[in-house]
Symmetry: C2
Subunit: 113 residues, 2 copies
DNA sequence: TTCATGTATTCAAATATTAGAATATATTAA
DNA sequence: TTAATATATTCTAATATTTGAATACATGAA
């Protein structure tokens, strides 16, 4: 999970409400598929599809206990990501010097205007 | 940038190599469209499209200097995100107790196995 | 005004993602 | 064995994303 391409794949797969919810649930501990169905309002096949996508991206894995497939977090990247997803941010960064109405300002580079 | 939906939109728009590259460039300071073309190997129209997507997600904004459109970072969320995208992570989290070969383990919940 | 440059928009084609339905597989219990 | 439960897979339709080509628009220079 240290090559840029892998991280981009991870971001792509994470950028979905059901999958964020699954990952947050998993950050609390091991869960089986039926556990996810209890709080996600989607079909079982769809839960499986999301789990499969997360697994193929290397973000989660599972073990088996009887009939239950027990999923757990595998990627440390996810923990940091979930943290900033939950974190509160100020609305905007302090911007560069420019007029918010006319949108005029000064280009700092050496290119011809 | 504090509602979950907005963050998910942001993740979706960020999960693309060209857009990550644009954002990393912008984390260094203000750049105009031609600056991006110098290091991205994509067409001008495509650069504009990516910038437009980033802007609509509220991640960047621009000011104008003559003929140049000068873009800058607007969302503090991006800075944290770029940081974890660049950060190195250990391969895997310490997993729960289970056999890596048979994939057997014990479900911690109270559901019937 | 005209020309050149910087940038955005529109359109279309290729490709990818998403979700439901139906079905398949695996395991436990009876 | 059979039945029931837990989960995965396959297929399909709808929708979204991505890109290039062409074109439009805006500004500064001549």
């Amino acid at each position: 999970m240290n090559k840029l391409g892998e991280k981009i794949e991870a971001l792509k797969v994470i950028a979905h409400p059901a999958r964020i919810a699954i990952l947050e649930e998993l950050s609390q501990g091991v869960k089986c598929v039926s556990d996810f169905q209890d709080f996600l309002e989607i079909r079982q096949s769809n839960v499986s599809q999301h789990l499969s996508a997360l697994r193929h991206a290397g973000l989660i894995d599972y073990f088996i206990d009887g009939r239950l497939r027990c999923y757990f977090l595998k990627s440390p990247f996810i923990l940091d990501l979930l943290e900033i997803v939950k974190k509160d941010y100020p609305c905007e960064l302090p911007g560069p010097d420019c007029c918010p109405v006319t949108k005029k300002g000064t280009y700092p580079g050496d290119r011809r205007r």
